[in-house]
């Protein structure tokens, strides 16, 4: 997610919380209460963004993904996934997370939303389908395409930069 968008959502959340502070019962911790409001703001935002892109002709075929496979009967990989060196070590490096964020930015919006909500936020498929307004089968396609793009991008940017 863009940093400015994140900041806008935090600002909206704090404003909403301030306005509604009499309704804060103290039953949940302040943190839980605020995160609850933030989640709703995020879902509202994605609904709006989703509605804007809903009119796009639903991309039946994704050319980028198609070209990752040969046109032979076995639809073999055009370029086979390479072995990755020390993937767990990557998680501890700040630069890796920068590459991860940059790669996520190159993924088309709806695919990136599907991936972020499912994998980063950990929402259930049902919840993500509701937010994005798609059927489960469409969600699987969006997630597949997001993973394909992210994997390729990370491989090129992080795991296998040009040969020495």
């Amino acid at each position: 997610m863009r940093r400015s968008l994140a900041e806008d959502l935090v600002q909206e959340t704090l404003t909403a919380a301030l306005t509604a502070r009499e309704r804060y019962s103290g039953a949940a911790s302040e943190r839980t209460w605020l995160i609850g409001i933030l989640k709703n703001k995020l879902i509202d935002h994605l609904r709006r963004a989703g509605r804007e892109t809903l009119l796009d002709p639903h991309d039946e075929v994704d050319d980028t993904i198609e070209t990752m496979f040969q046109n032979d009967p076995g639809r073999h990989w055009q370029s086979e996934p390479s072995p990755w060196a020390n993937p767990s070590g990557a998680l501890e490096q700040q630069q890796f997370w920068r590459a991860f964020a940059d790669c996520l930015d190159t993924v088309p919006a709806r695919q990136a939303q599907a991936f972020t909500l499912t994998e980063i936020e950990g929402l259930s498929s049902d919840e993500v389908c509701k937010v994005l307004g798609v059927a489960a089968t469409n969600l699987w396609v969006l997630l597949y395409r997001a993973r394909m793009r992210l994997r390729t991008c990370l491989e090129q940017r992080w795991f296998v930069p040009e040969d020495g």
């Binding site: 496979f69 076995g74 086979e80 994998e119 491989e155």
Partner: protein, 77 residues
Amino acid sequence: MATCKEVSELVSQRLDRRLGLRDRLRVRLHLWVCDACARFAQQIEWLRRAARTAGALEPRLSPEARTRIRSKLGLRR
């Protein structure tokens, strides 16, 4: 025999739903003989773990954003 493209779709889907018996079998047979797809499967599973880790990291506001939001809310620093 399933194609590499089909198998790449199925190993992605099996992260999101339980595959039917027939597809589970097709995937297993294919992964047995195809190193490229086996690697792909491991890597997108790793991608899921990486994303979960990212979700657990605490994002922090930049100092400028903090100041801007505070002043917007009428709070003094």
